[in-house]
Amino acid sequence: MKSFVNVNPKSLDEAVAVLDRARAQGKKAALAGGGSDLLGMLKDHLVQPDLVVNLKSISGLEGVHREGERVRIGALTTLDEIARHPLLVERYAALAQAAGLAASPQIRNVGTLGGNVNQRPWCHYFRQGFPCFKNGGKMCYAVAGENQFHALFGGGPAFIVHPSDTAPALVALEAEFKVMGPSGAKIIPAEKYFILPREDVLRENVLGENEILAEVILPAAPSGLRSTYLKIRDRQAWDHAIVSIGAALEWEGGRCRKARLVLGGVAPIPWRVPNAERLLEGKSLGEALARQVAEAALAGAQPLAKNGYKVPLAKATVRRAVLSLLPAA
């Protein structure tokens, strides 16, 4: 890989200053959380930064902390820690399950929540360096090419799917992201963090060149909240989701008070399906309603030539997810 300088900032402010200075000097900087995704991109010359900013050198960016009824998770917390954390497993199951289903044990040991959320797409055209939209080119090779793993919703001009497992779970759980930049911290709802290719084809989120995702904040988990993350893969380990769902349902007296259903693997962003959510709200749940919810969730899907199989797969996944969240009798 091309050479670069590794920088070990001691604080978030210092890291932001490094990014800011690099930008002012016309140098490219890349952020490394666990670094697994970045190193692959460096080796394949998809990014060629002058500086690699190693966020692992900043103390206090990792860990799961209770703050009143909320939970703050440092962006450098490893996926393995999140998958095993008793508070997350109990109250925010969708997130713990998503983290535990990501990648492989080795990746989860170094891979961070921030890195999982911010990882670049895994479209094979993009990763193999085709001059596609995501690589700064002028076409999406998947449109007329191999598009088995591409988007059903929100595609155009690029048809990538967002690869993160934790992102749909975080949107379903109504998490907020704390982003640090030159003018301090700002809070962005997870749902507003991700952007479609038609907004900016070179990015998957709103994070600026001199900004760092510092923390994920989970709101209080109300009584009656049940959540889950289901992931469908080609092989049962070490693979990205063909389709997945982060689902969070709040129950009261046997009826669903509030529903959040967010699909993964089907769109360039975690794909919320409000029409399906509304069908659940105020109702008690049975097999018939679960099927209606699944139909509603996939209504409007626009398959490409080779990814139509995802539609029935996603419907079944939605149905299974909501039925698995039935309140304890």
Partner: protein, 204 residues
């Protein structure tokens, strides 16, 4: 320099880093290297000085910032038991323990490992005494071509350190990040379960 020169000779002769410098001066590069001032790395690429403990031996090293931990272990410390196959964090052949956790050494920069402890497959046996996992791998014919074996061993070691008596699904999950092109997965899982049973009986 003729074409017969091996890559390792080349590295030695160009004297990259303290380990290769030590080899030139006749020091045992596998022995403790505790120099306060490591030799500068003659390189046009940006470099850093790091300290690593590998298999309980301390090293002070000059490394290029872009070198992966796998490159440093193999090419500069001579610890070629750690294999590199995909070099993209997908196959697991390069698995080592970093601070006790299984990681892909190909996907972690050596500079990020500064001050940390690394265990490679060379550090598993205690002298002539093989690790129970190594013995079980032999007994159960785990390795076929053998290329993935050191990575499988290290992933299994990390698993048993964390879960001394795993269930078969836990073993399969623990080895999920390691590919075997000979597809000898069932034997590997059997071997890990057998080693776990032995370790349990002998109270390791």
């Amino acid at each position: 320099m003729g074409f017969e020169t091996t890559r390792r000779d080349f590295i030695r002769n160009t004297g990259w880093g303290i380990a290769s410098a030590a080899a030139v001066s006749g020091l045992d590069i596998h022995g403790p290297l505790l120099r306060a001032e490591p030799i500068e790395v003659p390189s046009v690429a940006p470099t850093s000085r790091i300290r690593l403990t590998v298999n309980q031996r301390p090293y002070a090293l000059g490394v290029e910032d872009r070198w992966t931990l796998a490159e440093v272990l193999r090419d500069h410390l001579g610890l070629t038991g750690t294999k590199v196959a995909c070099d993209r964090g997908e196959c697991g052949a390069c698995t080592v323990l970093l601070e006790g956790r299984a990681v892909y050494a190909c996907s972690y920069l050596a500079v990020w490992a500064d001050g940390k402890e690394v265990l490679t497959v060379e550090g598993l046996a205690q002298g002539e005494q093989l690790d129970p996992l190594q013995e079980a791998f032999i007994e159960h014919d785990g390795p076929q071509c053998g290329f993935c074996t050191s990575g499988q061993l290290m992933a299994a070691r990390a698993l048993l350190n964390q879960v001394p008596e795993p269930t078969p699904p836990q073993v399969r999950e623990g080895l999920a990040g390691n590919l075997c092109r000979c597809s000898n997965y069932n034997r590997y899982v059997e071997a890990v379960l057998a080693a776990a049973g032995k370790e349990g009986r002998h109270g390791k």
